[in-house]
């Protein structure tokens, strides 16, 4: 019956549900004393496509992780849709995470597991642990996983091992994994930093499509200014753990970027120059 309750809950979320994100004076200090975020306040509306720009060490990775609680805010509150992430733990945190999709720079696939089971990871929060242990996904979960793979064009690789895929294919499987969650918001931490330029554009297009077709809120950490301008509508600049820019991405000038980076623009700040 426990299982039934969860299933209803997962199905209850209307297809178009997209969540806002709100950070109220959030600070993060790591146990070693590093202040990664200092007094960050933001509101992101449902369906926005936002890039978070900054150098490595600027706190953008920490920021995106406070949204799904992989990093807990030391101060302030993080609210995602109906969930106040700050202070959540255990089952309720996992439930909230179940609605927040995330993709990573290193793809974070289990390399020796086939694509299908990697994608099923997205159903963890929505399925009974008992079924996971026995390796028996429900028909509905299976269908969700396969449709998600199909939507990123990876269905024919469903039985391939993750380590047999190219970088771009891996990231698409990772996107499918996140979509399988039927997320209400999508986080991406440097999703294209490990990819070559054509593949990087492909992945960015996928993310834009998810935002456009499903109306999902999408947050992307990125340090490449041309991609931020081209694919996102709003840009948040981080420097030393504080927001130093917040405005339309397309209108951001080179000067704005120099201000965010705190140094003149270099060739590796854009993808096309790198190519």
């Amino acid at each position: 019956m426990h299982t039934d309750a969860r299933r209803v809950e997962a199905g209850d979320i209307p297809a178009s549900t997209s969540w806002p994100v709100e950070l109220k004076s959030v600070s993060v200090t790591y146990p070693n004393g590093t202040k990664a975020l200092q007094d960050v306040s933001l509101r992101i509306e449902p369906g926005e496509m936002v890039s978070i720009v900054g150098l490595s060490g600027s706190g953008k990775s920490t920021l995106i992780r406070t949204i799904n609680g992989l990093v807990q805010a030391t101060d302030g509150t993080v609210t995602v849709g109906p969930h106040e992430i700050t202070g959540l733990s255990g089952r309720r945190l996992r439930e909230a995470r179940g609605h927040i999709g995330m993709i990573f720079q290193g793809f974070n696939l289990a390399e020796r597991t086939d694509v299908f089971h990697n994608v099923l990871v997205g159903r963890f929060a929505h399925s009974s642990p008992f079924r996971t242990l026995l390796g028996l996904p429900t028909k509905a979960d299976r269908e969700l996983a396969l449709r998600a793979l199909d939507s990123v064009g990876m269905l024919e690789k469903v039985w391939a091992r993750a380590n047999a895929l190219s970088g771009g294919q891996k990231q698409r499987v990772a996107i499918a994994r996140a979509l399988t969650q039927q997320p209400s918001i999508m986080l991406a931490d440097e999703p294209v930093a490990s990819l070559d330029p054509p593949t990087a554009h492909g992945v960015m297009r996928d993310l834009r499509r998810i935002n456009g077709e499903r109306g999902l809120t999408v947050l992307i950490n990125i340090h490449l200014m041309d991609l931020a301008r081209q694919y996102t509508t709003r840009m948040i600049g981080l420097r030393d753990g504080a927001v130093v820019y917040d405005g339309p991405a397309g209108a951001a000038t080179d000067a704005d970027f120099e201000q965010i980076y705190g140094r003149p623009i270099q060739s590796d700040d854009t993808l096309d120059a790198r190519a």
């Binding site: 299933r7 209803v8 997962a10 199905g11 209307p14 297809a15 178009s16 549900t17 429900t138 028909k139 509905a140 979960d141 269908e143 969700l144 396969l146 449709r147 998600a148 199909d150 939507s151 269905l155 024919e156 469903v158 039985w159 979509l179 039927q182 077709e213 499903r214 999902l216």
Partner: protein, 284 residues
Amino acid sequence: MTGLQTPVKLPAQTELQTPTKPSRLWSTVFAIAVGAVVLVAGAGLKITWSDLPAMPGQIAHYLRLMFEAPNLEKLPRALFETWRSISMAWLGAIMCVVVSIPLGMLAANGVGPWWLRTALRGVFAVIRAIPEVIIALILLTVTGLTPFTGALALGIAGIGTQGKWVYETIESVQEGASEAVRAAGGNTAEVTRWALWPAAAPTLMSFALYRFEINIRTSAVLGLVGAGGIGSMLSNYTNFRQWDTVGMLLIVVVIATMLMDAVSGAIRRRIMEGAKVRDVARSS
């Protein structure tokens, strides 16, 4: 199917062209075959498996006898015997290392002549294949059961593995370093002394200590068959079924072993880190 109310914009009811799952027939057959062999092996053993459920209770009973109130009366004697075992292990390790370093070096590619290499490797392989305890046991019957012969037995029984480690280490450091000395006109002995030895020494020292750690365990085992030390004491009190003393002895064995492992392990790490620091300093 509530799960199908997905936000997927594709027409949700289209039939997916899912590739067929690859067959796992052979791995299944293999797993069943292994399972069958294990079951046959288990059934063939003269063990009354139906007694197994009673086992935990029985073992708990003895554990209580041993550890509820370990008998500390014999502790001084136990410490004395522990030192004897450690001494056996230490001297055995020294003998083993002293013999296996030159022999192992001669067995390395590019150092000794091919016929010597083949012969030495053969000897190492044979010694390695026979369990150390059996080699030691045979030697002990010939030389007599004393702690000294125990140490000697440890020294000889360890040569198989130790010699292999030596030639593998030498071969792994051979590239580069030896060429420089050879280019400067050095002969094989000079290459060994000035190129191979400095590069291999930290690893070899580390392996020597590792041999000591292995010997700590093996020396207790030799004691069980009469070579003296903590193993002999344990064997005696187990035969007398003086469980409280056995419990104390086991505690001593565990603590002594862990302590020696920890000390020796810490030294090994220092040796290897020191070598790494020197390498970095050299290359920069």
